[in-house]
Subunit: 366 residues, 2 copies
C-alpha cells in the first residue's frame, strides 16, 4: 500500500482547510460545558477565552513576578529554575563532534529574588552577540555536578521558571490559593474520566523558547501578565514534522574549571523522540534551506497565537506547539488528562507510524 | 512513504482495541446530552438506549405493521416499496455476462394491505429453493417500464419498505404524529449545526438485507416491533473494506414477456462506489475463500448488534453497517447531519484514499 505525494498533498490540504489559519476564535467569556465539548474538545479546535479567571472585582486576574515576590518571601522561597546558555531548553542540537543530541536545560535552585534579578539582567536577544545559537556545544562524558550553587551560572545565561510537575499546587501552595482550584466549565465538559493532572506556573521572557513538541494533555493556559506566543500545528501534521527520530539525550552543565557551558551526554540507551527542525524558520527567509533538509515540512503551515494578559488559551491535546514570550510573562496552566480511547488517538498513532517508516526507509534524510 | 503490512497490522489492532467487540453498552434510559456527546458522539461509539421513546404510560412505544394498518387506511394508503428477487437491495452482483454491477431494487407502489399480504406470504428463506443468491441476473440495455402495476411482481419476490427520503415526516404525517418530532437529548448534544435531516420508517422481515454501507449521518434507530440485526464495522475499517471500487449502476426490473427478473443497466457514466464483499461471510465457513479475493478483510472483525423491540441504537456517522431483521420488524430512524469540520472526517478521507491507491496499483485484486 503506497502513500503517494498526491495523497499527502490532498491530506495536507484537508488538514489545512479543517484547522484554518487565523481562525482561532476569541470567546468573550467562558463557554458552556456542552459548547466547549462540542466545538472545541470534540473537534480539537483551539480557542482563546476571555474572563476565564477573574478577581473579586470581576476583572481578569492579573499577577506579575513582582506580585509573586510580594505574596511569597522572595529572599527565602526557592525556585527550581531551568537555565540554558541561549534560551533554548529541550531542543535537538548539533554538537561539536557533529552528532545530534536532545539537550535538556540545567536545573538550578535559586531564590525568587535572584531569579528576578537574573531574568531582568538578561540582555535582550537582539542586542546580544556573545552566545551564538549556531555555536556547537562541547560534549562531555563526565558529569561534573548539578548546578546547586547558582553563582556558577554565567551571567548571560537564560533563566526560565518552567517546572511541569504540578509545581503551583505542590511547591507553591500559597500562590495557588490565588487561583481557582480548577476550571469548572472545562471539568464539566471533560467529565470524571479526564481529571486535572497538574497546575503549573511559568515565568520567563522573550529570551526563553520551548521548541515544538506535543503534550498528552488538554491544556488551558492562562496569561496572568505579559504575553505568551504560541506557534502551533494540528496533530494531523505529525505525518510531516519529523518527530520520530531518536536522539541521544543530554543535559546542559557548566564546566567547573572553564565556567563554560558544555553538555553531559546521558547513557546511550536513553533515546529521546523530538522534532529537530525549528518550524518557526518556515515563516522566515531561511525557509528554503529548511525544506531542503526536511521536504515534508512544505505541508506544514504553523499558526501563531498570541495570548495576552487576562486571556486563556485552550490548546487541545496532541497539538504541536513552540512557545515563547514577547516580554516578561507570568502564566498558569491547567493540564487535564486526554482520552486515549478515542478515534483521534488511534488515527494519530497511525500517522505517526507513517512518518517513522519514511525515516527508516530513506536514510538520505536522517 | 510506505505503508507496510506491519503498520496496517498495528493500526488494525488499535482499531479493534478502541472499538472492542461485544462492547456496545446498553443504557437503561436516555443519557444526558453532555454524556451522550462525550462518550458516544465524540468517541464515535455506538450504544443501545432503552426507554428512548415511550408512550403515554411511560413504557417503550410499540408499533406493529398491523397497528400501522389500523392507523392509516390500509386499502387506500399507498407505499413505495423496494422489491428484489432475493432480498438483497443495493448490492454489487456478478451478471450473466461476468461483469459486476451495483444493483438497486425495483420500486413499486402498493397499498399497505398488499404490502402486508406480500410480506407475510413470503416463504422463509431456509425453505426456499426457487431463487438462488448465486444465480447471475440477466443484463439488459432496454428499460421496459417501472413496476407501476404490482401484479407484475413474481410471487416469491421480497418486499421491503425502506424509503430513505424522510418518508415518515413527508409521506406518512399521520403516523409521524405518534412519534416524538425529534430526539431531544440528542439534539441538545449535537447542537444547531447538526439539525434533523430525515425521519424514516422501515418495515421488513428476515428476507430483506441491506448490504454493508455507511451513511453521512448520525443515526438513531428505534425498533418499534420485531428485531433489527446490525452487522457493523468502525469507520477506521475503511482502509480494509474495498469500498472504493467503481461499479456500473443498474436497477432490477421484471421482463414484460417472460415475467422474469432482469437488470436494466444505467448509462456507463453513472459509477457507484460500494463494498463488494459480503462481510457477513467473515463469520461463516466461507471465510477463507473470501480472504483469498479480499486479503485486507483479515483486519475486519464485524460486530453483530441486535436491537430489540423498544430499544434504540445510536450508530455514529460513517460506521459501516449491514442490516437485516430476525422477523417482521417495524423501525423508525432519525438522521442528524454529521460534522464535516472534524478531525474524524479528515482522517477518514485519508484512509479512504489509501484504500483507493491500493486498488489502482494492484490490478490483480480488482
Amino acid at each position: 500500500m503506497q502513500t503517494t505525494d498526491s495523497q499527502l498533498e490532498t491530506f495536507a490540504e484537508n488538514v489545512e482547510f479543517l484547522w484554518k489559519q487565523a481562525n482561532v476564535p476569541v470567546l468573550p467569556c467562558p463557554p458552556s460545558p456542552i459548547q466547549f465539548l462540542r466545538d472545541h474538545i470534540q473537534c480539537s479546535k483551539p480557542c482563546i477565552i476571555r474572563n476565564a479567571i477573574t478577581d473579586e472585582n470581576g476583572v481578569p486576574m492579573r499577577l506579575t513576578l513582582d506580585d509573586i515576590a510580594e505574596r511569597l518571601d522572595p529572599k527565602k522561597t526557592m525556585l527550581t529554575v531551568d537555565v540554558t546558555p541561549d534560551g533554548h531548553g529541550d531542543s535537538v542540537r548539533t554538537m561539536s563532534d557533529g552528532s545530534s543530541i536532545f539537550i535538556q536545560p540545567a536545573e538550578c535552585e535559586m531564590t525568587i529574588e535572584e531569579f528576578r534579578r537574573r531574568l531582568r539582567g538578561q540582555t535582550p536577544a537582539h542586542d546580544r552577540t556573545n552566545i551564538d545559537l549556531n555555536e556547537r556545544p562541547i560534549l562531555t562524558d563526565s558529569i561534573t555536578r548539578l548546578l546547586s550553587a547558582s553563582k556558577e551560572i554565567p551571567d548571560e545565561s537564560v533563566v526560565y521558571y518552567s517546572r511541569q510537575n504540578d509545581c503551583l499546587r505542590k511547591e507553591l501552595p500559597d500562590l495557588y490559593k490565588a487561583f481557582p482550584p480548577g476550571i469548572a466549565w472545562a471539568e464539566e465538559a471533560l467529565g470524571p474520566e479526564q481529571p486535572l493532572d497538574a497546575v503549573n506556573l511559568w515565568v520567563g521572557n522573550e529570551r526563553a523558547i520551548s521548541s515544538m513538541h506535543k503534550d498528552h494533555y488538554e491544556n488551558l493556559f492562562y496569561v496572568a501578565s505579559g504575553e505568551k506566543v504560541f506557534t502551533v500545528c494540528p496533530p494531523a501534521n505529525v505525518a510531516f514534522l519529523y518527530e520520530q527520530r531518536q536522539y541521544r539525550s543530554g543535559r546542559f552543565q557548566v564546566n567547573e574549571q572553564s565556567r563554560a557551558w558544555e553538555v553531559f551526554a546521558e547513557d546511550d540507551d536513553t533515546k529521546a523522540h523530538w522534532i529537530a527542525p525549528d518550524v518557526a524558520i518556515l515563516n522566515s527567509d531561511k525557509r528554503d534551506l529548511l525544506l531542503e533538509e526536511y521536504p515534508l515540512l512544505k505541508h506544514v503551515k504553523p499558526l501563531e497565537i498570541r495570548v495576552r494578559e487576562g486571556e486563556m488559551l485552550y490548546l487541545p491535546s496532541l497539538w504541536f506547539h513552540r512557545v515563547t514570550q514577547s516580554c516578561e510573562t507570568v502564566g498558569v496552566n491547567y493540564w487535564y488528562d486526554m482520552r486515549f480511547d478515542s478515534p483521534s488517538w488511534c488515527y494519530f498513532t497511525f500517522l505517526q507510524q507513517l512518518q517513522h517508516i519514511k525515516e527508516v526507509e530513506d536514510p538520505s534524510t536522517s
